[in-house]
Symmetry: C2
Subunit: 346 residues, 2 copies
């Protein structure tokens, strides 16, 4: 049943002109190439009439451009990434690009596999939230000349374009906010990883804690233990034994994970503890209590990532100077970071 789409050749035959002429006209080079008004009109009308659109695969083969970008994230179902994805999609489509999303599960093996699949010259550029161990693969992509922009984190010793936020400041400010609200035993729950988005958040927390002369209470969970028994035990222990009065979660899925646990062991805890989480979310707003969160500027992140990408794409082979953006996050102050005495007033 599959009926053949018309090609330039068909148009050429129908109108009795060469395919070259048609190609020139279609690419807006008609005047430049001194094609007569009548011929241009004739071609344009016919193209309109038969509803011809060029075969993009053939175009890609010839030009080497696919107009497809890859956006590789940890997990596309995570709201933080899904929202960036949505914003990126909008920008890309406006410029005639499509976006392939893929999730690397913050897993090196999977990341490598995905990069391998895509680097087969199917793709014009990569926007990557890298997992910890794919420095080499990123380096290779860059070396063979494929545009790459990193997001959320980067490799200290690899010069790449990137867009991140000032995690240190954001974490410090958030911790200070808790301190200012008279919390004194503030725990920091984070993921065990060498990646700088996390280590910077840890440093921000530590700095604020040290400055205030408070006790540092830190739980670093291995990624694999999340939603597993091991993780549950660690969190339970921390929450119950340390007599803490506040918790700062370094990322949204940790918050989610911990809340489920809290819900089970002692629902009131969520009111009694001061709580701040990294990464904001519609649900933190409507939760009871509403959750104070470090909100990353999603739209702006997406815009900067794409700006850089398009700059690289436009520059073709000329190497452009590195663009490295650090944006500011904002603290969305809500009920969960108030001291208990005042918390239930609202």
């Amino acid at each position: 049943m599959k009926q053949k789409r018309p090609s330039i050749k068909d148009i050429a035959k129908a109108l009795n002109v060469s395919i070259t002429t048609i190609s020139f006209v279609l690419n807006g080079k008609g005047e430049e190439r001194k094609i007569s008004k009548e011929v241009i009109k004739k071609i344009e009308d016919y193209v309109e009439e038969i509803n011809y659109t060029p075969n993009q695969v053939a175009q890609s083969l010839r030009t080497g451009e696919s107009k497809i970008l890859v956006f590789m994230v940890e997990d596309i179902s995570n709201s933080f990434f899904a929202n960036i994805a949505r914003a990126i999609e909008d920008i890309a489509y406006k410029k005639g690009y499509k976006v392939l999303f893929c999730s690397n599960e913050n897993n090196d093996k999977r990341s490598r596999e995905l990069i391998r699949v895509f680097s087969e010259r199917l793709v014009d550029g990569f926007i990557i939230i890298p997992s910890a161990g794919i420095r080499k693969e990123i380096e290779k992509l860059i070396k063979i000349g494929i545009p790459v922009v990193l997001g959320d984190r980067y490799f200290e010793d690899l010069p790449t374009h990137y867009v991140v936020i000032d995690n240190f400041q954001a974490a410090k400010a958030a911790t200070q906010h808790l301190i200012n609200n008279d919390f004194e035993k503030i725990a920091f729950i984070t993921i065990e990883t060498p990646q700088n988005q996390m280590t910077d958040r840890f440093k921000g927390y530590s700095q604020a804690i040290d400055d205030a002369g408070l006790e540092s209470i830190v739980l670093k969970l291995p990624f694999e233990t999340i939603n597993k028994k091991e993780g549950i035990t660690s969190i339970k222990t921390l929450l119950l034994k340390n007599n803490i009065d506040a918790v700062f979660f370094s990322t949204n899925y940790l918050t989610q994970f911990a809340f489920e646990i809290i819900k089970k062991i002692n629902p009131d805890l969520v009111y009694n503890l001061g709580i701040i989480t990294f990464d904001d979310n519609e649900f933190f707003k409507i939760n009871n209590p509403s959750i104070t969160a470090v909100a990353q500027p999603i739209e702006q992140i997406a815009k900067e990532l794409m700006d850089i990408m398009f700059k690289i794409l436009k520059s073709k082979d000329k190497n452009i100077p590195l663009i490295q953006k650090t944006l500011e996050a904002s603290l969305q102050i809500r009920d969960s970071s108030k001291k208990l005495s005042t918390k239930n007033e609202a």
Copy 2:
């Protein structure tokens, strides 16, 4: 700097065999085509050595297959769709396919634009959550022989493959659950649309209400009024003036929207009202009160959608009989659907 990737031609030159031979070997047709063991080995080793991978664009041009599928949803940042997307991605990559995600905003114009962009034979198949008015475009895709599977909803008068859930039963059961828990003035808040996923939910609600001899209280919000003043006013009016004791939301973003309003006008309302929402979500679990939700079987939906897609793809041009699946949703019973007296016990 862009260094050229090796092509079959380069291999041919290096090994002094024809490109035909190499192509046969690479496609596993070596034995069949009587290529000698030694030559096969030689080619395979060299390919391994230089790390050659075929240019997919050229393959696509020649074979007409791109190994790319499109998954078009309302909004990829909505957790329901993001989760299906994640599941689809996994299945697709396992079979060597990639997935382009795009958001149509439940908007016909945008849907048409997206279909136009993709139907230029870049894409092997479409999985679509259709907006209300693109019946014709879907029909056209099918007519020109591109595989299409619809999800979440379908067009009553257009025979297509689809995967949906039994919205009528799910909504009826949810409403009955509220009734069984002694709620008597149960409102149904939904989107004004002719699409059957929504009308079926409405019918399910109505049936249960009628069966119980209760009063039907319905608010149908136009899609555009969500997160707008108009929508806020409508919801406020309903919540405050009607003396209702329970609400059933027909979709997750309505719940979110209403919760923000409730939070502002009267935070206690969230405890006083019986609440059920369509579409489950991690946050409903940890919310205070936890929210009773109709959970769609995300994984199963994704699996069925892809099963159908691969069946169509495998069948090539032979028309296969329509596959239309209706799956069951499950009611996740939590605190929000308990009567106030019992609600705060937990």
